[in-house]
Amino acid sequence: MVTTTNITKTYQKGTVKAVDNVSFSVEKGELFGLIGPDGAGKSSIFRMLTTLLLPDSGSATVAGHDIVTDYQRIRSKVGYMPGRFSLYPDLSIEENLHFFATVFNTTVKENYHLIEDIYVQIAPFGKRRAGKLSGGMKQKLALCCALIHKPTVLFLDEPTTGVDPVSRREFWEMLKRLRQQGITILVSTPYMDEASLCDRIALIQNGSILSIDSPQGIADAYPSSLYAVQANDLPRLIHVLPTYHPHMHSYLFGEYIHLDTRGMGGHDLPEELTRFLAAEGFGDIEVKPIAPTIEDCFINMLIRHDT
């Protein structure tokens, strides 16, 4: 449904490389995630695919149309929700929805079934100005507006940034339901925990793709074993842990410290480390093997990338 081949995008006359030789393809009905921190190039990729920017080199197609030569056909087929809130704050919920429905040559009635699940949640506030809505409600309205013309491909650029955790979860539930209706969805997010909700993800950093796979595939491909460590004095533990082994990588992850054992040999880590930490004066020591999350994989890739 969407394919890109070696697309590159630079800004400021080629001095800043935003997207570097990116290739991927998205199948029909897939929920595809672009995962990466701010400034990784996610928005630039979305803007090229929605025909708002021209790539410097490379090519891409959306719904079978070339993004450069056939931009007008793409514009009538895709739905796009930019990163920042992009509705009219001085129009009410209903007015915004009707406006975008009409601009896209359709009516709210015609495609109401598509947005019904989402719209019923904000419908009680239908007369309220969009500028006065909460972050979660704004995103729901924006999603309704992007969906109202029944797009074949939906581009959502960081739809959950700045939205509370409950609304985020609801938002992803909605995306799953939309996928069941056969709509291909590309979504970008800086939140690693959302990655596991996608069918496939592309991890992206500094404009290039580090890896593309299903979330499970990416986790399975983690090259070494991973441990979570906890003790009574976490701030001191952060400093003491790296002295255990020179090749060890450790980083804070919630209330645990994650420990990557690559290059450390195959000895029995949990017991030895527990003994080491006890000798250092820690109490309540816990060392357990864990399955890597997407964030672990991402951090691991960055470390490998740097060294």
Binding site: L52, L53, S76, P82, F85, S86, L87, F100, F104, C145
Partner: protein
């Protein structure tokens, strides 16, 4: 078409729901007309003057009565000598003094010629000129009356001939000026800002990724401002007719047609600015510095263009407001028809076409 109408409706919502926009749109013309009409006028009322009448005959009294009857002057004292007059001038108590020589009527009757000394405080040259011309026209009035039915003319005074505006009223000059200014502000600045605002809020991104053609987006944004500007033209004209008592000498229809043309000129300018500017502030600055200032300076409204150095005179030709100012003045005050202003109209059409074409050419269907 349905898309277009919905879009225009949305634009009206934007305007009508923003108090500041409403204030600028409808408060400003009102305020400007009232300020220029009553506060900043160069028409002088109730100026304090003195009359030193050394003749005290029938002729001098008749002239003094006429001066007193006009509401331009307020005669302070009838009798005053030269010394006290000078003191009064120095203290700024009086603006003008009129001195009738002794034997004023005798001179007039027997020599057919008499003189009146008119002394004005020229530290404010504009006021002085205005006041002396008021006086001379009142004297002339009297003289005309005196000469009626009299074969021999009594005296030739320097003829002050004020075409179209015999009393040097302020309104005829500033109403066309305010019209040009207000239309410029509303159509250029507001249009530019409203388009750039969509760029800033990101809604332009969504609109671009829609089947609605980008050029239609721009046109749909221009239509409400065209209508609102016409409302402004109507309100300025009605105020000038009913509040300032300045009737429209020529055709109302022609005046409206020319105003529509000028509004379209301004809209194309606004659209052009909006294409170039990336933020509302930039759009506002360009509109103010690049459009409003030249309108004030080079339209002939505030400063006469004939007095400017040659390069500036040439420059004034590319300021659309100059042509509109000439057109409105011709229609409103002189009552000229299209045959008298077709050249100016053509120039405006040319400017409009020029900006429309370069806007069309530089219009971006993408973000960069």
């Amino acid at each position: 078409m349905k898309q277009f109408i919905t879009f225009v409706k949305k634009e009206f919502f934007h305007v009508l729901r923003d108090r500041r926009t409403l204030l600028i749109l409808f408060g400003m013309p009102l305020a400007q007309i009232l300020i220029f009409g009553f506060a900043l006028t160069n028409e002088i009322k109730n100026a304090r003057i003195i009359v030193i009448d050394q003749a005290k005959d029938e002729a001098s009294r008749r002239i003094t009565n006429r001066l007193a009857a006009s509401n331009y002057f307020e005669i302070q004292e009838d009798v005053m000598d030269q010394n006290r007059m000078e003191a009064a001038f120095k203290e700024g108590n009086i603006k003008l003094a009129i001195v009738f020589p002794a034997q004023f009527r005798n001179d007039l009757i027997h020599q057919n010629h008499a003189q009146i000394q008119v002394i004005a405080d020229a530290s404010d040259p504009n006021t002085a000129t205005t006041l002396t011309s008021y006086v001379s026209s009142i004297i002339q009035d009297y003289q005309t009356e005196l000469n009626e039915g009299n074969g021999l003319p009594y005296r030739i005074t320097p003829e002050v001939h004020m075409l179209y505006n015999p009393q040097l009223k302020g309104a005829p000059n500033f109403v066309p000026g305010v019209m040009a200014l207000v239309l410029m502000l509303v159509s250029v600045m507001m249009t530019a800002i409203s388009i750039v605002r969509e760029k800033e809020t990101g809604t332009m991104e969504v609109l671009l990724v829609s089947p609605f053609k980008p050029m239609w987006v721009i046109l749909a944004k221009a239509v409400p401002y065209l209508l609102l500007s016409l409302v402004n033209v109507l309100s300025i004209l009605s105020m000038s007719v009913w509040v300032l008592q300045l009737p429209v000498a020529g055709s109302w229809l022609l005046l409206f047609a020319e105003s529509t043309l000028f509004i379209i000129t301004c809209l194309t300018l606004g659209i052009f600015i909006s294409i170039k500017a990336q933020s509302q502030q930039v759009a506002m600055l360009i509109s103010l510095m690049g459009m409003l200032l030249p309108t004030m300076m080079f339209s002939g409204f505030m400063f006469p263009i004939e007095n400017m150095p040659m390069p500036l005179q040439v420059f004034s030709n590319i300021v659309p407001a100059k042509w509109f100012y000439i057109i409105v003045k011709s229609i409103m005050i002189k009552g000229v028809g299209l045959e008298g202003i077709w050249k100016e109209t053509l120039v405006l059409c040319g400017i409009t076409l020029f900006f429309f074409l370069i806007s069309l050419k530089s219009f971006k269907i993408r973000l960069e």
